[in-house]
């Protein structure tokens, strides 16, 4: 082992095999690695294509930002599982594992010995999870997918960027949220069920087969809106979707969000804007009033905000208890006093270059997770991992000849 996990980690001793490419499955596995699982990322000899997404820490690196983010604290091996010998090694990895993560279709799962029936027979205690763009079954199951089409197949995109932006650009296309959001959402959704199945296995000794369709993982995130539309015949359109009052306001140097939902929120905002008399103004004092007089209310806020900088507004209103948000870019997030005081960021040595990584968003009092070790280079842990497996002398010599040991 190149680094022993702290024994106190929540997933100490848990072995995970990640036999998948791309972002969603990698992120799912990384969530387990954050908390101490020993994740072995199994790549084809040519490497996971997501290694080739830039920007890169140096021009020759075999990983860029998104790969580094999704594969920290893992061990990486290459394995040609098109070969019978590779399939055998995969089985030996599974024999030591508690979790296997895949993105293969039914045919490929059968070939790999990873179908639900085969796993249940060969590795009954194993928790398997399949993460695919449109799931394992159904008319679209074999479709290729990337974050863009899957996100827009989930419903939320049809309502973005929303009314305020549509006023400015009435003829433009719907947009996706974030960059790899649908992959992260699928990864976290899958990881949640994996841990539930691990808890079940502690009692029953039996594993499970979990299937996650990324399209469904994403559409469920939007269920508050779909519940409205499907059950109240409510018409919600991209150009019409906006808050009844408050929301996004332009500042001198950027944008700010204000949501004075409760009466005390409005009172603190009125005071913060230097017009305390508006706190009790009958037009705005109650929520009903704020909704009925939204135009006047928004005009007051807009006139005040446009003369100030976003960070100044955030610093002025936040401590008063007004729900306020600055539209933060990466630099703003990185200098946030709040995130820094919680020690959220981790400095990780990437081949001599210190890079700052976001930490884990659940601060655990007894078994804190964290980002410690950079993502593996292609095949970096071949010798280490293969030497842990119970391989025959013939297999060892074959692997040596193939340059894997």
């Amino acid at each position: 082992m190149s680094e022993l996990k702290a024994p106190a980690a929540a997933f100490a001793g848990l072995r995970v095999v990640e036999r998948a490419t791309g972002v969603a499955a990698a992120y799912c596995a990384r969530l387990l690695a954050d908390l101490g699982a020993d994740v072995i990322k199994v790549e084809p000899p040519a490497g996971d294509p997501s290694r080739r997404i830039g920007p890169f820490p140096d021009p020759a690196a075999d990983f860029g930002a998104v790969f580094l983010y999704c594969n920290s604290d893992k061990r990486g091996i290459t394995l040609d599982d098109r070969l019978a010998s590779g399939l055998d090694v995969l089985q030996r990895l599974l024999a030591r594992a508690a979790v296997v993560i895949t993105d293969a279709d039914r045919t490929e799962l059968d070939r790999l010995g990873l179908s639900p029936a085969q796993l249940s027979a060969d590795h009954p205690a194993l928790v398997a999870v399949s993460i695919r763009p449109y799931g394992l079954d159904g008319p679209l199951a074999s479709r290729p997918g990337t974050e863009l089409d899957v996100y827009h197949a989930s419903g939320e995109g049809s309502l973005l960027p929303g009314g305020q932006v549509a006023d400015l650009f009435p003829d433009r296309a719907p947009v996706k949220a974030g960059r790899w959001l649908v992959d992260y959402d699928s990864g976290i959704t899958a990881a949640t069920a994996v841990v539930a199945a691990l808890i079940q296995a502690l009692v029953t000794g039996r594993g499970d087969f979990i299937e996650v369709s990324q399209q469904e993982a994403e559409l469920t995130m939007n269920r508050l809106v779909s519940d409205h539309i499907l059950n109240q015949s409510e018409i919600v359109t991209r150009s019409g979707r906006r808050y009844d009052f408050g929301g996004m306001f332009r500042c001198r140097d950027g944008w700010i969000n204000l949501r004075p939902n409760e009466d005390n929120h409005w009172a603190t905002l009125a005071e913060g804007m230097g017009v305390p008399e508006l706190a009790t103004d009958p037009r705005f004092a109650s929520r009903a009033g704020r909704v009925a007089n939204a135009g006047a209310l928004n005009q007051v806020i807009a006139g005040w905000a446009i003369e100030r900088d976003a960070e100044a507004i955030y610093e002025q209103l936040g401590p008063r208890g007004t729900p306020v948000g600055i539209y933060a870019d990466a630099a703003t997030i990185k200098r946030s006093p709040q995130l820094r005081s919680r020690g959220w960021f981790a400095d990780v040595d990437v081949d001599g270059r210190p890079l700052t990584f976001p930490g884990v968003p659940y601060l655990m009092s007894e078994t804190p997770g964290g980002v410690h070790r950079r993502a593996p280079h292609l095949g970096e842990h071949n010798a280490e991992v293969y030497s842990e497996l119970d391989l025959s002398a013939a297999e060892r010599s074959r692997l040596r000849e193939a340059g894997l040991i």
Binding site: G64, A65, Y69, P116, G135, L140, R143, P144, G145, D149, A153, S154, S158, Q164, A173, P174, V175, K176, G178, R179, W180, Y184, D185, I188, A193, Q200, I210, V212, E216, L219, R223, L224, D227, I229, L230, N231, V236, Y243, G247, M248, W255, N261, G318, G321, G325, D329, A330, I333, P337, Q338, L339, L355, F357, V360, P361, Y362, L363, S365, E366, T367
Partner: protein, 407 residues
Amino acid sequence: MDSKPPPAGPGPLRGIRVLDFTWAAAGPYSTMLLAMLGAEVIKIESATRLDLFRRIVSGRDGHVDGAVRFNGLNLLKKSVRLNLATPEGRELALRLAETSDVVIDNFRPGVLERLGLGYEDLSLRKPALVVASVSTAGRGGPESGYPGYAAIFNAIGGLGHMTGYPDGPPTEVRDSVDLRVGAIAAFGLLAALYRARRTGRGQHVDVSAREAVASLVGDALVEHSITGRSPARDGNHLGSRAPYDVYRCAGDDGWVAIGVSSDAEWAGLCRAMERPDLGGDESYADQLGRLEHRPVLDAAVAAWVATRPAAEAADRCAAEGVPASAVLGIGELVSEPHLVQRDVFRKVVHPRLGELIVPAPPWRLASGLPALEAAPTFGRDSDDVLGSVAGLSSEEIVRLRAAGVVN
């Protein structure tokens, strides 16, 4: 292959009890995920602090049980009325906590502590308890007490900045952001529960909504560390890929998302468009070339899809191995054949609202998941839980109701 989900089962979290102090959206989504996985979730409610989603918006008739919005995040739960600000209410909450595996809240930091129900109080009663707290900015730090909603988390977490047109403002990604925070909280909580089941030792899980959202743009933060620059929003683009965008199709508000990430997919798109001239052109053969000529290629794709319905354009792309989908509105999802065959939209019967359509759980388990049930009416399970779990007699419950403890 049968595309229906496996038959119902008890769920992997059967036998796990969750005491749920959450309200509004992020916390309730967390505990609904646990309920969908088979946990028994006891939601503590009170007339003096009614769930925001029971009182704001979308009630058909303004009744506490009339909000579709509340139903959608509280399926499969139990509802118990308890006034935590009374000494007896607090003591009953502690008694329920003693019988639970998990306690979760999303009050502002300090609220439960003031009520004597903070982590210290709870773990004193039961050291094996996992206690999760979800708040805007987490415990500790100068912004710990800040209130927030989905739109605020979206802004301060950086997702809003990364969403929208490059020449336009950031985007208000709204309700869904709460659910993303809830999903992340559910994972952290379950990780702690897994460890508690192995070791008998509980702990506190402190979830910051801002950190949760920022982790969903985490690659942008790593990118900033590499380049020294903050990545900007870029519409539907992704790095240097082209063509990779959403294009207008025939029909009312018809759009198709087409994303080419490799040379092979570019070749496939040229076949789909029947444009061998583009496919054979060396200047578009690699990603850098396609990026350089993005306007030309986008115009070619736009012209090709302009006369076609979005679904047809997407099908032709997919048949050639190119990732593509119509931009689906929510009304379209329910009749999408793939989702219909996969039984993704389910019906639950609500005692006041009647039949409601809700999305299925976001996973299928071979061992099965519980069938969905509507959210509880306000206080539906007070008598049952206070009797069978807290061990109160029916006379005591009557007295507590009169005294405003069960309110």
